[in-house]
């Protein structure tokens, strides 16, 4: 069990989400940065899709009530474990009574704290992800508060040895603001000039951005389509263009259907680059092809698999 001693303003339980229920109106949800969540899990010997804590915005402290392992991945934070500074993307051991404090966010928006065994709240619709708009998943479908205690499952094997660090080529990185996109179902309605406007210069992430969608500011797109179409299913990463002409990138908790034209869709592997950007940060949309971004998706899966393999080797070396 771990205990939230001092909750930050945003702290939830997340895993890789609940695909399979979109026909019921339930979005897949899950971690805003699945890459970081999977990385944190592998660092503590969990399967990549185990439930962990998604932490944003500000400082807070958690305490262990059982010895084990932990790791932080994603947004770079200044954090200490029992007073000693922590690195990102590295395995740490914890004792019963250990406390971890995130002091501040240095870069990025969502950091993931994984614990060996995984957070063991009851699954709802096959996932432990917190879906705040529906008030289900996670701990009673809500943000975590100071004093909350979270069950942790028994580890399913030894964690990698402490000091195991993700090698740089496999590490989640967010420096680039270049996100690949492919044309969406309604791209042709915007014409070549609409597309050119989308990709010609960077956008800024607007302050009105949350787990449902990130608004892009800076430039309006000109187009001549009706503002709404008959509602149709949409996906995370879809870039909708409402009447105002300011695009919105749909994120993990976005509704399953939408009526605005979808000009483009962000590559799954690049969506974390957007998720991790702060209001005011730039993002540049770069045209790609479905076959290229599907290759990138497979490469990401291979990278996570490689990391799991290295983690197991490190575990064997550590215990031998």
């Amino acid at each position: 069990m771990i205990e939230v001693v001092t909750a930050p303003p945003y702290l939830t339980v997340q895993d890789l989400g609940r695909p399979g229920f979109r026909a019921q109106g339930v979005p897949a949800s899950g971690a805003m940065d699945p890459w970081a969540l999977s990385t944190a899990n592998v660092l503590v010997g969990n399967p990549p899709d185990a439930a962990a804590l998604e932490w944003a915005l500000a400082a807070g402290t958690v305490r262990w009530r059982r010895a084990g392992s932990c790791a932080l991945a994603g947004a770079r934070v200044e954090a200490t474990l029992d007073g000693a500074p922590m690195r990102m993307h590295r395995t740490y051991r914890v004792r019963e009574g250990s406390t971890l404090t995130v002091h501040r966010f240095i870069a990025g928006r969502f950091s993931y704290l994984a614990v060996d065994g995984g957070i063991d709240v009851p699954p709802v619709l096959a996932s432990r992800a917190t879906y705040l708009p529906g008030r289900f998943g996670g701990l009673d479908g809500r943000l975590l508060r100071s004093g909350d205690r979270l069950p942790v499952a028994p580890p399913n094997g030894p964690a990698p040895a402490p000091t195991f660090q993700v090698p740089p080529p496999l590490e989640p990185r967010y420096e680039t603001a270049e996100c690949r996109i492919v044309p969406g179902p309604h791209a042709s309605l915007f014409g070549p000039s609409g597309w050119a406007q989308l990709v010609s210069a960077p956008f800024r992430i607007d302050a009105r951005s949350d787990r449902m969608g990130y608004r892009l500011a800076g430039r309006e797109l000109q187009h001549t389509v009706d503002t709404t179409l008959p509602s149709a299913p949409v996906c995370a990463g879809a870039i909708q263009v409402p009447a105002g002409g300011f695009p919105i990138v749909l994120m993990a908790d976005a509704p399953t259907v939408g009526g605005y034209p979808v000009i483009a869709v962000v590559a799954s592997v690049d969506l974390p680059l957007i998720a991790q950007r702060q209001p005011g940060d730039e993002v540049r949309l770069c045209p790609s092809t479905v076959s290229d971004v599907q290759r990138a998706l497979r490469a990401r899966a291979v990278a996570i698999h490689t990391l799991m393999h290295l983690a197991r080797e490190k575990q064997a070396a550590g215990s031998g």
Partner: protein, 223 residues
Amino acid sequence: MSDPAAPDRPSIVPLGDTALSILLGDRVDAALAARVRALAERIRSAGLEPVREVVVGYAALTVWYDALRTDYTVIAGALQSILDQSPAASPAAGTPREHRIPVRYDGPDLTEVADRTGLAVSEVIARHSNRWYEVYLIGFVPGWAYLGDLDPALVLPRRSVPRTRVPAGSVAIAGAQTGVYPLATPGGWHLLGRTSVVLFDPSAEPPALLAPGDRVRFVPVAG
């Protein structure tokens, strides 16, 4: 790139790297919605291995697939063969499920709707409750069903200022549609009444009470 405005000739387009959409038209009509549902059913029953989910809209459907096991070209080709198999055949629709939903017509917008439509309150209630509605699609929030078509006399634009919180169970109208808020959410529809029927229960199987193609009738009950 295919033209989504081209009517009645289904076209397959990618929706990112893990889904694709099949566009059948660009309008809201019951016959088109029935074709969308029938096609969704054919795709589900074809049991293509990489297909994960099939979700319908008014005039389009979306297929989610496992992009680690296949790629767009292959899955689009397999779906094109399904489209080619029975091109213009009208679907043999089964008997739709029917739901009667009791409503206390005491919503905060009832009198305003009566004023704006020039109808008596009792007439608003009668016109809302005297017909069967069809579930076009599920979405917006879990379990939300877009129901149509409303009596033309009740058609109003959405409220100019949406409410920040509409209670769960609120029965509402907007445009040519009606629906029931499954969860407390922000909303801009006109609230006519309330029901105690649970539209969405994550512990139920399936969690949403209504499904596309179902028929719904609202039954006035005393408050």
